[in-house]
Amino acid sequence: MNRFADLLDMLAFTPSRNAKLSLLQEYFRAVPDPERGYALAAIARDLDIPAVKPAQLRELISTRLDAELFGYSYDYVGDLAETIALAWPEQGTGHAGRNDAPGLAEVVETLRASSRRDGPKLVEDWLDRLDAPGRYALLKLVTGGFRMGLSGRLIKQALAAFGKVEVNEIEELWHGLTPPYLELFAWLEGGGEKPVNAAAAPFRPVMLSHAIDKGDFDKLDPQDFTAEWKWDGIRVQATSERGVNRLYTRTGDDISAAFPDLVDAIAFDGALDGELLVARPGGGGIETGSFSDLQQRLNRKTVTAKQLRDHPAFFRAYDILQDGAEDLRARPFHERRPRLEAFVAGLDPARFDCSQMLGFDTWDELAALRADPPFAVIEGVMIKREASPYVPGRPKGEWYKWKRDPFLIDAVLMYAQRGHGKRSGYYSDYTFGVWRDPGELVPVGKAYFGFTDEELLQIDKYVRENTIERFGPVRSVRAGLEKGLVFEVAFEGINRSTRHKSGVAMRFPRISRLRWDKPPAEADRLETLERMIDGVE
């Protein structure tokens, strides 16, 4: 359990993505089967063990520690599993765990073979045998409380780097694998065959595009390309085989459980690439909802009847990868597109439609279309080579995205936080605000990139010279009508948010220009942002 506990701690405290990748690889190298497989399953949330509820844990600690002392401790630490792990009384004198401390594999295999009712008793016995880091890892494991900030993508990249294979290969296999992934590790270490994905309706690695550069247009002949809207939803893959329907994100995460309405409608044999959107109910056909509507359905494990009724999910198809037994990926786009249209024609029209193709003869004509999209939930255009096969990854010269111009506002720097790693010692993370009332700034977002190294030095100097208050690594910066630093902030979208004091949330905000010249009183007002929301809804 201790190696697993170490891994969790290091992952939790390491801010850098590259460092996390190398920690995971080092762990996979150092730790044998089946333990590494169970650890992988735990952090990828792919481990199905009977959960122990927080109330049951409280009951366990109440038999070992005075309720008042526990209460003081919990108030101080603020995390139930951590409080119990630290405060669990140890028998004997040693601070180290006993030599009969259970390993991760023992814990997982025992729990899998037990009923939910036996959970607390088993956990109590293990708590007595582990040291504090081991107890913490155990409690996080049995409560399913890992919030590691590790994306499925990062975990798969670590596996790919460990085995020196393409991340696509891992994504393609992933849903056919089960913990502790013995065949996967055997293959990655070069000692075994590549596992065959036996699961029905597997994920097929997606094809991605490059952002187009102004200079690219001169080199590209519009006759070789076709274009369609770039919808601002969630890129997904809908696939079905042998009666198994699945909805995957573009990184291969299975999100079927959150969209039962759409998944039920995947009544076909094949695999489609498209955009997940939500519709406004009523009327015939599909009326596309806004990104805010879509947000009502995102990041939920389960979904209520009301959400299903008010925000029904639908699928706007871009491409077809598989039609029955026929794999179409090697065919050119201009052959796949008619196949796609024919395929979608046979599906439920309330749940599936085809992305509309845009007619144009010159890049200027396309630019005019891009400048005036018919729906706010369009974020630009996609440009696809007619001859392009469907190739996993981001092949060069095949697909381009041409996003609409970002939204821009002028905002005032309010708080600055110190960065990590190469940015240690620099105030590099900024919270900025706009005016609500004259003299009252309300924070509307955070940005930590978009500026040059030279500009970082200038902002850092400004922060140090204009600090009002310090809270740990955060400084509050002088920001008033007369004195303050104005940023031009660029962002991709904006919607209402009940979680933010300002009531608005920006997507992908970054600093686009430093406005040393601009008096803070002339920065934007909150109404401006609210009008932008009205514009996109």
Binding site: Y72, S73, Y76, V77, D79, T83, A96, S424, G425
Partner: protein, 338 residues
């Protein structure tokens, strides 16, 4: 008539006061006569008329505040009985930092021990804590919650050295309190067999020199200055400094620094994250929960007074043990630096 403890020592705004001896222990502002347990800034301040402390604590105060920090000073040898009016005081080792002492105050057969900050576990950089039997034991409560169990410090140093070998391109910056923690961490690193140079922030220099002069070998220490070296020279190096320096421009001279902090507070993950610490090292110069309990049992006082920290939890524990206890409301002590 049996003397009452509250007639011998009583909390006042300036600190703990002894009316029959007319002196304060660790006063937080200037007084005529002060007895000082140890050299940390929240216990030892400049500007007293007369200071009684161990010779090492007086040396440390002179280093920090200048030789004229008090009108007059007197060194107390450990175990030596010193009369102040009709009160007898004795200094006993507290095991907190070099020179740290508990102060026993005795009059008419009643003895109160003001232990200051203390830790019972052995520390190669100072004399080991010795329990002193008494009627009233005044204990700190900095880490008085059952969640605080400091692990073996040598194990924490092994984690540090593993991290150093895993990250050969990065400089490890360890936040340490400049008196006590810095020298203890350096000594522990040496004891773990690491004999390469260690780099120190200027704020640590004088106190490290002083520890050396007291026979505590710290090995090859070098100033962490860019003037002396290029940025790349600190790759794979261990650098020690006060945590406040890490947010400062000082930290920029190091390549991709990995921030560490040696403190009892690092036991709690949220504390480490708030400070942006990437490698928390749980190394404390205070007693942890189990050590507070063991110490109170060993001292076996008639009554416990609990000060600075989480008083309510330790008072509750004493209650459960049938030991009379109450919080002593002293202001001005909170060892955030530990």
């Amino acid at each position: 008539m049996t003397p009452r403890p509250e007639d011998l020592l009583v909390p006042r705004r300036e600190g703990l006061y002894c009316p029959p001896g007319d002196f304060f222990i660790d006063p937080v502002r200037g007084v005529d006569r002060a007895l000082i347990t140890h050299g940390h800034a929240d216990h030892a301040r400049a500007g007293h008329g007369h200071v009684l402390a161990t010779a090492q604590t007086l040396d440390i105060m002179a280093i920090r505040y200048g030789v004229d920090h008090a009108g007059a000073t007197q060194a107390a040898a450990l175990g030596e009985e010193i009369r102040i009016r009709d009160v007898t005081v004795t200094f006993h080792p507290a095991g907190h930092v070099l020179g740290s002492a508990q102060i026993a105050v005795e009059r008419n057969g009643l003895r109160i021990v003001a232990s200051g900050d203390y830790k019972p576990r052995p520390d190669p950089t100072c004399a080991t804590f010795a329990p002193v039997t008494c009627d009233v034991f005044i204990t700190e409560a900095t880490f008085a919650l059952p969640v605080f169990r400091h692990p073996d410090a040598a194990g924490e140093i092994r984690r540090l050295l593993r991290s150093v070998s895993r990250n050969p391109d990065r400089a490890h910056l360890i936040g340490v309190y400049s008196l006590g923690k810095a020298q203890r961490v350096i000594r522990l690193i040496r004891d773990a067999g690491y004999d390469r140079p260690l780099y120190i922030h200027g704020a640590l220099q004088k106190l490290c020199d002083y520890y050396e002069s007291q026979g505590i070998a710290l090995g090859d220490l070098r100033p962490a200055t860019v003037e002396a070296s290029a940025k790349g020279d600190f790759a794979g190096a261990i650098v020690l400094g006060p945590p406040s320096a890490f947010g400062d421009k000082w930290a920029r001279r190091f390549p991709d620094p990995l921030i560490s902090f040696a403190s009892g507070w690092m036991q709690v993950r949220a504390r480490a994250r708030q400070r942006g610490v990437e490698l928390p090292l749980v190394i404390s110069d205070h007693a942890d929960w189990d050590e507070l309990a063991e110490t109170i049992h060993a001292v076996a006082p008639g009554e416990v007074w609990v000060t600075h920290g989480r008083e309510e939890a330790l008072v509750r524990w004493c209650e459960m043990q049938g030991i009379s206890a109450r919080p002593l409301n002293l202001v001005g002590y909170e060892d955030e630096g530990d």
